[in-house]
Amino acid sequence: MIDTAASPPGKRNFGLLILAEFVAIGLAATASIMLDLGWLGAVMIVVLVAGFTLLIVRAGEQRAISTGNFSPVMRRYNRRMLVAGAVYVVGLFGAIWAHDLLRPTGAVAFLFAFAPSVGVLLMVWAMARLVTEETDEYLRYRYVRSSLFGLATLLTLGTVWGFFEQFDLVPHVPSWAAVPVFAIGLGIANCTRRGRS
């Protein structure tokens, strides 16, 4: 009777996919800059990111199933994050387009500036729903622990960077970086847990 999978199937594919995404995006970004592709280059990168994200999510789900880490709530979370990601891209590009071409002012300018936040707020909502909807108490415990690590990362980097910035030692970082920094912390927590288990 085998209790634990020594090498989960799809693990290599998962790593290769992430590597392939970095290489493909790097090549696309280089081509975009060197050939001065402008919007076309940006669209090309977005399509690449979207395609690879779908493949990585699917590979991640297969790996989670094989290692006994998967739950229906996680599948729902992944779908919500994909939708939120798509909303974010549309909101961001829409806001940039509106800013460059329409030059809105007043309340309309605030409305367009708020557009990229909608997708990110949906991601925050999806993370909250993951914790509240998960019925498997151990998986929920792990989500909460990872989230706390993400929060600690954000608080630590935000505080240290803020004081460095205050004394003109480092450049300004926009506050929308909060969610990506939190997500990086979350990712580190998940990777270190996988390394231990």
Partner: protein, 66 residues
């Protein structure tokens, strides 16, 4: 908290996946409880006890009592 989950499961020739399915939890949950990485909540401990038809204290023991 120490537990006899692995022994009880082996006596019934159940895999971790079998036990997880019977308890409606993930296989990782069973693994974490068996290896002492995670102590189950009281409701889950009761479900485990009911599944094995044993009192909770016959499965889970205080670390101070060895």
């Amino acid at each position: 908290m120490n537990n006899r989950l692995k022994v009880l499961r082996a006596e019934r020739d159940w895999s971790q996946g079998d036990l997880a399915e019977r308890l409606a939890v993930s296989r990782q949950s069973v693994n974490a409880i068996e290896t002492g990485k995670y102590d189950p909540s009281l409701p889950l401990a009761f479900r485990i006890a009911e599944l094995f038809e044993l009192p909770i204290e016959a499965i889970f023991t205080s670390p101070s009592k060895g």
